[in-house]
Symmetry: C2
Subunit: 325 residues, 2 copies
């Protein structure tokens, strides 16, 4: 807990912390009767007089979520769109439309903005979605705010439905983007496969709807980091989750980077986000839908509450990240 702020030093965002502040903010927003899923899941789901809507928003800030020297504008556009499209995917939905807000310095090359737009349009095109609106304004740094709208063909899959005994499964690559980012932050440009995985993730867009049709009890987009996101599922569902290291095959370039940087490459898998893999839980015995691989088990919550373990024990590596800290 943070110390009680005094009048002379009011509590800041950093003091409060991202998750506590989100909880505080969210509590200030009354939810109308049309809100089927409100704040707190990958996306909100609305039942409106004219049908339902799945909606999610992401804000990406230069220097924090992307760097112009680490990826071209087309790639940044693709990543920005992917991160939003993936949130609809994780509800079991399909995106149909995006809005894009761009705030940028007036001296930004116009070409950078148009390349960004091309990248967003390319990624949206992978799922047949259109960019239908947006806003453009000046700011001292580049901020990209994307909102995605979609629909679900069946009931959306929330984070809260995992039950003890369920199988935890993963669709999509996991850890590649984190390894690519580790390479880039140290000033290297190879292995190329990893750098490209960071610059151009390939979210498994069919996995969300397939998981929903296939009986997933809970589902989430891996964006904060695998263990961090599974902890969101554990917490929302009131369960424990155990992940098995041996469920992951460490691809050769990841082992090479681990050796070169002197780190356990498994930390890219367990702590990495940015690949936009889909993690889901399925009742034991359910055939896993195409693209999913079992990586763990849902357990009873521990005596201290919901917790995520690795091979039955606490994990002491990096598990993801939070803002303001």
């Amino acid at each position: 807990m943070s110390p009680e702020p005094t009048a002379s030093s009011p509590s800041t965002l950093a003091d409060t912390g991202e998750f506590a502040l989100i909880a505080d903010l969210t509590g200030r927003f009354p939810q109308g009767p049309h809100v089927y899923v409100g704040p707190g899941d990958d996306a909100a789901v609305l039942r409106t007089p004219r049908g339902h809507v799945v909606v999610s928003t992401d804000v990406l800030v230069e220097g924090r979520h992307f760097r112009r020297e680490w990826a071209g504008a087309v790639e940044i556009g693709r990543k920005a769109a992917a991160s939003n499209l993936s949130d609809v995917n994780a509800m079991g939905g399909r995106a149909h439309s995006l809005t894009v807000g761009l705030a940028a310095p007036a001296d930004l090359p116009a070409r950078w903005a148009t390349d960004l737009a091309d990248g967003i349009a390319e990624e949206a095109g992978l799922v047949g979605a259109s960019v239908v609106g947006g806003d453009l304004t000046t700011a001292s740094e580049v901020v990209i705010a994307i909102t995605v709208l979609g629909t679900c063909d069946q009931a959306p899959v929330l984070r809260s439905g995992a039950r003890p005994g369920d199988v935890v499964a993963l669709a999509g690559r996991q850890g590649w983007a984190a390894a690519g980012l580790a390479v880039l932050t140290r000033g290297f440009r190879s292995p190329r496969a990893l750098v490209e995985a960071y610059q151009r993730p390939q979210p498994p867009y069919d996995a969300g709807p397939a998981g929903a049709v296939g009986g997933a009890t809970a589902m989430i987009d891996v964006s904060d980091g695998l263990l961090a996101d599974l902890a969101h599922v554990a917490s929302a569902s009131g369960v424990g989750i155990d992940v098995r290291r041996d469920a992951f095959e460490l691809a050769e370039p990841m082992r090479a980077v681990g050796a070169a940087l002197g780190v356990d490459p498994m930390q890219f898998v367990l702590g990495g986000g940015d690949d936009h893999a889909i993690a889901a839980t399925f009742p034991s015995g359910t055939p896993l839908p195409a693209g999913f691989t079992a990586v763990g088990q849902v357990t009873e919550p521990g005596p201290g509450g919901p917790v995520v373990t690795v091979d039955g024990a606490a994990y002491d590596g990096p598990t993801g990240w939070a803002h303001f800290q």
Copy 2:
């Protein structure tokens, strides 16, 4: 036209200009068959397998769209929400949901963020809308990105339907917020009615649906400035528009501010945005819906194309504003 950029000095956002860049960006976004209204109107309208959606996005940047010393966080939240809700209003729709992206420095007082949330929730509550999701991240300045979703009970009213002979009408206060801003920018805090009009606009949320039901042929939210926004209608509809000065009663505080600042107070009315009035056109002879007052006439386009005039002549005062310039 801007000079052709050379390789050594690539064209920037400022060189290109807001509207040219928006046109370029928009052209890069193919519109799927579900897009009934794409980029370019107050909001987009989507026909989805599960019903239709009206959607609009605004990005507000500290120092450009608001200043923390000119309004409290609650007021900034209300204004930010109002500016979005008003876009759905201008389609003839009703908003039901908002998402809010907030990027802010880590040392921002947490109270400022929670007050902002309270202001957004208050304004949304005026139309029965809920804040259903969002994103929170750090940035070097405060950026607020809001997306609003709504529905129309009837066909949306676009900017493009004005016809020569139509009456131009306005609902809501016009010029008050601009006069309040003029006061604040000069370091004053009164007249209070004008400052409050800037800090807490009162958009006529019922006017949009009323205009749509009442037969409006075109409709727009006045946010750039009355003449600037009417120029958007003129351009989209391929018509001319003439506004009559004597249609506007100059309220006493506006006359006082004009006298004190040595400016024609009519420029607040003709050039001001921020009140979120609704401008609409109606076929001649149609009874104007409650709240609307006739302020001008739709005319044939001039020989030089669509143009907005005041009392039949070109207007040489400020007509609004564009970014990057």
